[in-house]
């Protein structure tokens, strides 16, 4: 079990020991081909130089140094933290509603045939519709405040959760279900002990999609007449051609995406600790 893994760990030094001194020397010299940080740093430097020399005017794109200064400024004066809190709240509320809705619907459809008959067809009909296409309708229905933004995120999140969880529930290994039944598990016990843990990997795949969908919809939705949040900052910056502020906001969006990914990874490591992939890591 763990033996195989240990072997692999010790493989590399052994491999090197067998090779001749010439080859070893080549291995120990830092190779240009391994320096993955090099090109981003070069591009950044190029960008900075181009900005300083006026090749890229700041109204087109601010210099990296200017972006860093603006970032520090926006953090210190509180604009960025405030905007971030507003945007994060939108994302979180939308996610909470959407994940709950998707989970409830998937459980209803996944655990009973009647539930599937009632729930699945309408969802399959709405599914091909890009959620953002509903923006005008949501504005007509819900105005331009927080509600349509959260509603759009919720709706967009519902689908990846529903589809993945429903599918995962239906693909729980029937042999395990049978084993459970042979040991006297029924109804709720069967669901709690076998169906839900068996469907957990699929749910987490859905959650990963849901997080990236929520971020995507957040970016678009909060530029609709926003009076707070990252979208508001970006809108204002656009009006005043403050490309530095826009780039700062883009950075923050990127960090949000990264954070969402880390969150799901942490959840997976915790909830799927029994998986061979995690047992070895």
């Amino acid at each position: 079990m763990s033996l195989a893994y240990d072997d692999r760990l010790t493989d590399k030094p052994k491999l090197g020991a067998k090779l001749g001194p010439k080859v070893k020397a080549r291995f120990s010299r830092p190779k240009l081909a391994d320096q993955r940080w090099l090109s981003p740093v070069l591009l950044l430097a190029l960008w900075e130089v181009a900005s300083l020399t006026g090749v890229i005017p700041s109204r087109i794109l601010a210099a990296p140094s200017a972006v860093v200064r603006t970032l520090a400024h926006l953090v210190v004066n509180g604009d960025l933290p405030n905007a971030l809190v507003v945007s994060l709240a939108r994302m979180a509320v939308g996610l909470a509603i959407g994940v709950t809705t998707g989970t409830v619907l998937a459980l209803a459809a996944g655990l009973s045939k009647l539930g599937e008959t009632l729930v699945d067809p309408p969802l399959q009909i709405i599914r091909p519709l890009p959620t953002l296409a509903l923006t005008p309708l949501f504005i007509v229905w819900l105005g331009i405040g927080e509600t349509p933004k959260i509603a759009l995120i919720s709706l967009g999140v519902t689908f990846p959760i529903y589809l993945n969880l429903f599918n995962a529930i239906r693909s729980v290994d029937p042999r395990l279900m049978e084993a459970g039944r042979s040991f006297g598990l029924k109804g709720w016990d069967l669901i709690v002990n076998i169906v839900l843990p068996g469907a957990m990997p699929g749910f987490l795949v859905g959650l990963r999609y849901a997080l990236s969908v929520s971020l995507l919809i957040l970016v678009v939705a909060e530029q609709i007449n926003a009076s707070a949040g990252l979208g508001y900052l970006i809108n204002n910056a656009r009006d005043f051609m403050q490309t530095d502020v826009i780039v700062v906001c883009l950075l923050v969006y990127a960090l949000l995406g990264l954070g969402a990914d880390l969150l799901v990874r942490a959840l997976e490591r915790r909830l799927l600790v029994w998986r061979p992939a995690f047992l070895k890591a």
Binding site: M1, G180, R181, S182, F183, D189, N193, R275
Partner: protein, 278 residues
């Protein structure tokens, strides 16, 4: 034909017509498993036809048969996984199955798998006891994915035993194991059978395994019990002449008639396709 008798099986109480005394347990008046005139069909094909079978408490019965002979269907029926009318099939309430694949829940630690579906205090120490019996006392908190094939199957055995079954159903539980592990599992199963004294029904396609373990070997063919062989050889059983004689007769009933044991074995392996029709 001493020391065993082979005969076609008649209807109605098999045990009553059986002159050979059982090795395990005295002939009891109320059998542990009682099947009378049970027929099971899927659509137009009947998988089990007018089945009659008694298994005495504490008796070890092996069920041999080619793919599609209905042996898995019979086991599933006795396990309560397939429906059966109560007047045709009666089994003890305490029964447990060990499947060919261990079927441990990968998301439950080994001891929780063993204790699956059990309630009450001290289930961990009970599971610990059962795992100790199968030699897995040290893997209590392991995840199933880290177990070897033999260990996983032993855990499955512990999961069955912890329920103190009156009927233990083994569905080709050693088929996927390597030869050495299989021999060790045979010894373990016999040890546990002696200690807990359940009635055992072992479904297998391995003639040697059936003769090594069972008090009685049944050959199932096209949904009927085609032959019965009572094995009275003392355990542990070696492949001596008496063993070989039983083996030849059983292979004959399985349609393997070659006199060369190696050829016969090779032919038997060709039976292997594992899934019986439902």
């Amino acid at each position: 034909m001493a020391p065993t008798a082979l005969r076609p099986v008649s209807l109605a109480p098999i045990r009553a017509a059986d002159p050979a005394p059982l090795q395990a347990g005295p002939p009891a008046s109320s059998p542990s498993v009682r099947v009378r005139g049970f027929t099971r069909s899927f659509g137009a094909t009947s998988v089990l036809t007018d089945m009659n079978l008694d298994i005495q408490p504490g008796e070890f019965v092996a069920l041999l048969g080619a793919s599609g002979s209905g042996k898995t269907t019979l086991l599933r029926t006795l396990a309560g996984l397939d429906p059966a009318p109560a007047d045709q099939v009666s089994t003890p309430a305490a029964r447990a199955v060990v499947f060919q694949d261990p079927r441990l829940m990968p998301w439950k630690r080994v001891w929780r798998n063993v204790a699956l579906g059990l309630g009450g205090r001290d289930i961990r120490s009970k599971a610990e006891g059962a795992l100790g019996e199968v030699g897995l006392g040290h893997r209590l908190d392991a995840w199933p994915a880290t177990l070897s094939g033999g260990e996983a199957q032993r855990a499955a055995l512990a999961r069955a035993l912890i329920r103190e079954p009156k009927l233990l159903l083994l569905d080709e539980p050693f088929a996927a194991l390597d030869a050495l592990t299989r021999i060790r599992m045979h010894e373990l199963v016999l040890k546990l059978w002696r200690a807990h004294d359940p009635a055992v029904l072992l479904v297998t396609h391995d003639v040697d395994e059936a003769i090594t373990l069972a008090d009685r070997v049944l050959v199932l063919d096209q949904g009927r019990i085609a032959a019965e062989e009572v094995v009275t050889l003392p355990r542990p059983r070696d492949a001596d002449d008496a063993f070989q004689a039983i083996r030849r007769r059983l292979l004959g009933h399985l349609g393997v008639t070659g006199h060369d044991p190696a050829a016969a074995a090779a032919e038997l392996i060709a039976f292997r396709p594992r899934q019986d029709a439902h």
